[in-house]
């Protein structure tokens, strides 16, 4: 069998515009799923991470169980839970986009919560004591003193986790969401050129994730050791 990469060129529109960006006849798009997942997952992750550090047991225990539970099961399992169980239980049908977004936000928040926790713990105790001494309340201390410094320490691991999430969005294709991976499958069903097509989308994913990791490294250098 000879390789013929022109198949990529002929289907470039569908793969990139529909599959990667999500504009076209299908609801889809790797980017359209990845960006809200990252933003919402991070917001939920902040709450989970702070919950794990709380002195109140009714916040700390559920947050800890949440993290331990979702870190102990595969993402595919979470996607199936949401995909299959919500229609059964609530008698409503949610579209693939909603299923995938919910699954990613819930799942990644567990990992992002751990990063937030480590980041907050990395802020020296003296900072909190000084903030309290100058008369800030504990929520003011968190908002104006601890979180800004913690965020700086978190950036490298956060970007790494965003890269993981970006790659994980490919799993949305399992439930039929038309992302880059699904688009390649659709084109492959017609053209039967698996080697060329999957290698091409591997390269597209790689360009995105590698540039993210380069950016993380340069940020790390610029911000210096905390």
């Amino acid at each position: 069998m000879t390789l013929d990469f022109s198949v990529v060129w002929r289907n470039l529109d569908f793969l990139i515009i529909q599959g990667f960006f999500g504009f076209g006849n299908f609801v889809g798009g790797t980017l359209r799923l990845a960006i809200p997942s990252i933003v919402l997952g991070f917001i939920l992750g902040i709450f989970i991470g702070l919950g794990r550090l709380s002195r109140r047991a009714w916040l700390r225990v559920p947050a800890t169980l949440y993290v331990e539970f979702f870190r102990g099961i595969p993402l595919v399992m979470v996607i199936f839970w949401i995909w299959i169980v919500i229609p059964v239980v609530l008698r409503i049908k949610i579209p693939e986009f909603g299923v995938a977004l919910t699954a990613f936000v819930i799942f990644e928040a567990a990992y992002l919560g751990e990063i937030v926790r480590a980041g907050v713990q990395s802020v020296p105790r003296g900072q909190v004591e000084a903030a309290t001494a100058v008369g800030l309340s504990s929520s003011q201390t968190m908002r104006h003193v601890v979180l800004p410094q913690a965020l700086k320490n978190m950036i490298p691991s956060l970007v790494t986790q965003f890269i993981v999430l970006f790659k994980d969005t490919s799993l949305a294709s399992i439930i039929g969401f038309m992302d880059l991976t699904k688009a390649a499958q659709v084109v492959n069903n017609r053209e039967i050129r698996p080697f060329e097509l999957y290698l091409f989308i591997a390269a597209v994913y790689w360009v995105c994730t590698y540039s993210m990791s380069r950016y993380a490294r340069s940020l790390e250098k610029r911000l210096g050791p905390a």
Partner: protein
């Protein structure tokens, strides 16, 4: 709430074929994870070592392997090894693969090569975190470089990487569920099969979820015991912090 209309029937998990499916799914998951783990560790050690040799082409090759394979989704690698690679193989190899469970070996390759790139980073950072003075002191006290690695550097490095390596191994175990996309009959696949046959989604998914949780929690517990047992007194190993 419509939840009240759902009738739980947990007996679907042990009546009929379900129990056997779950067990065979569990066994396939463990086999897949074990084979992929061996491949991943071998590739991780090899590429991790090659990244430190004083010969540029080999270093570039190892770096390329690590950066390319770990930055692309595992699912894409599954499709690549399952659909993309076999047509390029010679006829006889292909015949053999088709009659010996092609999807299983494709999944082993995908998972092993992907995780190997991640293991490589763990090993490299483990070895790099040991101060150079350790090596210099060993050589000064009369050991050869090989002996220094064998008796000083590696025993410390391997202890240091227990927590991150455990983490990666658990990731590998959980990631093996992606193999269901190329129809390897592992645990998640069997869970879905039970759900399809019995229409009892919640029971089937609960069974699968609990099995994964038990696997991960017990593996983590065993490894943290190993970490405590192998800790060198006086040397902070793993940097475990009390919250």
């Amino acid at each position: 709430m419509a939840l009240v209309n759902y009738r739980f029937d947990w007996s679907v998990l042990w009546t009929g074929e379900s129990g056997r499916w779950l067990l065979s799914g569990l066994i396939t998951t463990l086999e897949l994870a074990a084979c992929a783990w061996i491949l991943a560790v071998a590739l991780g050690i090899l590429s991790g070592a090659l990244r430190t040799v004083p010969f540029r082409p080999l270093r570039v090759l190892a770096t390329f392997y690590v950066e390319f394979f770990r930055n692309v989704p595992l699912l894409v690698w599954m499709f690549f090894w399952y659909f993309g690679v076999p047509p390029l193989l010679p006829e006889s190899v292909r015949e053999w693969l088709f009659s010996h469970g092609l999807e299983f070996w494709a999944a082993v390759c995908a998972l092993g090569v992907y995780s190997g790139a991640r293991f490589s980073e763990v090993l490299r950072s483990g070895i790099q975190s040991i101060p150079r003075t350790q090596l210099e002191a060993s050589v000064a006290s009369g050991l050869t470089v090989l002996q220094a690695y064998r008796f000083v550097i590696l025993p410390i490095a391997l202890r240091l990487i227990i927590p991150p390596a455990t983490n990666e191994s658990l990731n590998l175990l959980k990631n093996s569920s992606v193999a269901l996309t190329i129809s390897v009959a592992e645990l998640t696949f069997q869970t879905r099969q039970i759900e399809t046959y019995t229409a009892k989604a919640i029971e089937a998914l609960t069974a699968g979820t609990v099995i994964y949780l038990v696997l991960c929690v017990s593996l983590a517990a065993v490894m943290s015991w190993v970490e405590r047992r192998t800790a060198i007194p006086g040397l902070i190993v793993g940097g475990r912090q009390r919250a």
